[in-house]
């Protein structure tokens, strides 16, 4: 890296990040009526972490991960605490432009921007990163993180997932990662520690699934903006506490259902969200959808459903089988568009649409995220065949396009409404 940004500018970036986080939080919390009380935990958590720079997690070595397919269970078993570094901050996105070409993905740029010095207080000491070789931009970002002084493990991911050689390659890669994680944290991955981490993550997933199941009900019990906040918190929250908070939310929503309280009107168009991941504070599109009167009831994104839906299944609770089981879970069900084929992603979308009685799909692609842009055609064709209208939105972290986007989103929601009326 040639030019090191000056300290003054860096501090300004951080201040801007805090400002935009506070603003986003205010929108999420105050512009929607009647939020569940259990959501307060999450609003406060985001405020503490994003605005005050507090650390949400217990003592231990933080290990940054840049992809949802990095096996958290192994980091935890080695005594580390995984933190997902994928950032949704426009301020960091701009700062990250020092590294990547202007037309690259906001998320990758923002992650690099975050890792420069003058970070949020709780991330100051983080210097160990696991970078997965998924899309080209993430792949190349690994080297840049090294240049920023991070100790990076380049976890190698295969470009396809269906073949047995790909599976074998990934298993070998994950076995290596066990050693790497131990080196990063100084801990040991043992039979007991891995078993406990698999079970802890499994409990969190069970809680997530209970929440997701409630979202299938009509009228909707939870707004998508809140659901994204919940799954987003999984990036950095204490695992057990997060699970407890989700269970509390589930309990409250069940009580609300009994009392006949819902989060949206029965006739609100139900939306399935897919594509590039909404990450706080960039919940621009979900907020626009719900301000326009739609309700996001399900998603197929790596900041939410893809991160938490699929579970590890162990056959023999010994180290050899647990490690392989973890490896399989992070490859086989993955619907990331980087793979050679996307049949599973299409089937997943159609299944979610069916089980959640979805009226339309919103497809977000970050400008520069080639793989999502490229899958747009096959996805919208499959959705059209299933009779599902799809709104394709190309955007980035900048707030500049909000005006224009809100018109498009409103028109889409309105068209879904009239489509519903006609079909009745």
């Amino acid at each position: 890296m040639s030019a090191v940004p000056q300290g003054g500018r860096r501090a300004a970036v951080l201040a801007q990040q805090i400002r935009e986080s506070a603003q986003a939080l205010a929108t999420l919390e105050r512009e929607f009526p009647d939020n569940p009380a259990a959501m307060d935990y999450f609003y406060k958590l985001f405020h503490r972490v994003y605005c005050e720079g507090e650390r949400a997690q217990p003592e231990g070595t933080l290990v940054g991960t840049t992809c949802v397919q990095v096996p958290d269970e192994i980091v935890r078993a080695a005594g580390g605490i995984p933190v997902r570094l994928c950032s949704g901050s426009h301020a960091f996105d701009q700062a990250g432009a020092d590294f990547m070409p202007a037309k690259s993905c906001s998320l990758v740029k923002a992650t690099l921007g975050l890792l420069q010095d003058e970070r949020p207080a709780w991330l100051e000491t983080l210097d160990r990163v696991v970078n997965l070789t998924t899309c080209d931009q993430k792949k190349k970002a690994g080297q840049m993180m090294e240049d920023l002084g991070c100790q990076v493990h380049h976890l190698e991911f295969p470009p396809s997932k269906d073949s047995e050689p790909a599976r074998a390659f990934w298993r070998a890669s994950v076995r290596d990662f066990v050693r790497a994680a131990e080196r990063m944290t100084g801990g040991r991955v043992t039979r007991t520690s891995l078993r406990e981490s698999i079970r802890a993550v499994s409990r969190a997933q069970a809680a997530y699934r209970r929440l997701q199941r409630l979202r299938a009900e009509s009228p909707a019990l939870l707004l998508g903006k809140d659901a994204f906040l919940v799954t987003n918190a999984y990036f950095f929250d204490d695992l057990e506490r997060w699970t407890g908070a989700v269970d509390a939310l589930v309990a409250e929503l069940e009580a609300r259902r009994e009392a006949g309280v819902s989060a949206a009107l029965r006739r609100a168009p139900r939306i399935l969200f897919t594509g590039s991941p909404p990450v706080f504070p960039n919940l621009k599109i979900p907020v626009l959808v719900e301000q326009a009167g739609g309700v996001i009831v399900a998603d197929e994104t790596c900041s939410a459903n893809r991160m938490l839906n699929d579970a590890v299944s162990v056959d023999e609770w010994n180290l050899y089988d647990m490690v392989d089981a973890v490896a399989d879970r992070y490859l086989k069900p993955c619907t990331c568009p980087i793979f050679t084929s996307n049949g599973d992603r299409l089937r997943r979308l159609l299944d979610l649409a069916r089980t959640h009685a979805v009226d339309g799909v919103v497809y977000q692609a970050f400008a520069g995220c080639q793989v999502y842009e490229m899958e747009h055609h096959s996805v919208s064709r499959a959705l059209a065949e299933a009779g599902l209208p799809c709104l394709y939105v190309e955007t980035d972290y900048s707030p500049d396009d909000v005006g224009q986007l809100s018109t498009r989103v409103e028109a889409f929601i309105e068209s879904l409404r009239s489509r519903r009326r006609r079909s009745r």
């Binding site: 047995e164 699929d310 162990v314 023999e316 010994n318 089988d321 069900p333």
Partner: protein, 328 residues
């Protein structure tokens, strides 16, 4: 009813199966002492050489006797034995389908016990590569054809071809590890011998002893090692589509996470990858239903009996099992 169903779907199928297998083992290997006899057309390796304790006999033994008949007799009353034998076998199969292998077969149970031993020793299991798997799985059909053709050839010598010696009358039994393993459970080691009476007998019994050795080593290394080669499994597979117990898959619900495939003792990849077929019983399948237990998707995999679901994949059941079985 709903609660009963939730209870059943939450069951740890492995534990249930272990106890069921033990019960079936005692029934088939020891209940002869109580004069219990389930006949001689059982679709499992209830070895007939276990004279004292057997509670029934493996169908392959009478099948080899019944096909040891001259061509003309096939159209006489003598063929009646063949027909009734087969019909009885078929009736048994109709009920449990391939679950005979997963739940009843004593030789299968022994292999599962060896797997349990290996697991306690914390030794990694090995698997075949997909390529050798595809090649090896044909062996059982070849064995099935041979065990019918050889006895038949003894009774029907063809002019110009060498005679098949009479010692080959039950060719499969002589090389089957069950002939030595199962009687041993009643203290009968008389089968653990080499037969020096003729060259053929010596060759065959030596082969049998060698296979016995391979069986013990193989079953420690590979899950259900022998079952890949089992001609009974091949014979069952020919009719498994019409049996009443079925393994069904709803491909729309499948995320192809591969959890079912990875727990499958028989390495059946189609269970994870095939999202088209509604009924998914591959020829190697033993219907142990581990795949159903390992499936986190609500109602994606299920076992049905005459269309009624008996064991079904549920989210709740899956996550409960993952917590509980961690304690092993």
């Amino acid at each position: 009813m709903k609660r009963l169903r939730a209870f059943v779907n939450g069951v740890d199928i492995q534990r249930f199966r272990t106890w069921f297998q033990l019960f079936a083992f005692v029934l088939l290997v020891y209940s002869g002492y109580l004069y219990i006899d389930l006949g001689n057309s059982l679709p499992v390796f209830a070895c007939g050489f276990n004279d004292a304790g057997r509670g029934g006999v493996c169908y392959l033994l009478p099948l080899q006797h019944q096909t040891h008949i001259p061509w003309e007799s096939l159209f006489s009353w003598r063929a009646l034995g063949l027909v009734t034998g087969f019909l009885t076998f078929f009736a048994w199969l109709l009920v449990l389908n391939k679950a005979w292998c997963g739940y009843v077969c004593p030789l299968g149970a022994i292999q599962d016990w060896m797997t349990a031993l290996r697991r306690r020793l914390r030794l990694r299991y090995s698997v075949y590569s997909l390529e050798s798997f595809t090649r090896l799985k044909k062996v059982k059909y070849i064995l099935l054809v041979l065990l019918i053709l050889i006895p038949f050839a003894i009774s029907n010598p063809v002019e110009g071809l060498p005679h098949v010696p009479e010692d080959m009358a039950t060719p499969f039994c002589t090389i089957c590890p069950a002939r030595m393993v199962i009687p041993a459970f009643t203290g009968d080691f008389s089968q653990w011998t080499l037969d020096f009476s003729t060259v053929t007998a010596l060759v065959m019994t030596s082969l049998g002893m060698a296979i016995l050795g391979i069986f013990f080593v193989g079953a420690l290394v590979n899950k259900r090692f022998f079952c890949f080669f089992c001609p009974m499994s091949a014979l069952q597979a020919l009719f498994s589509n019409i049996a009443l117990l079925k393994l069904r898959k709803d491909g729309d619900k499948c995320t192809r996470c591969g959890d079912c495939y990875r727990v499958c003792d028989m390495q059946i990849k189609a269970i994870a990858d095939d999202v088209e077929r509604k009924i998914l019983i591959e020829d190697d399948c033993m219907m142990c239903l581990k795949c159903v237990a390992a499936c986190p998707e609500e109602g994606c995999l299920k076992a049905t009996f005459m269309g009624i679901p008996v064991y079904e994949a549920t989210e709740e059941g899956f996550f409960r099992r993952q917590q509980r079985r961690g304690g092993e």
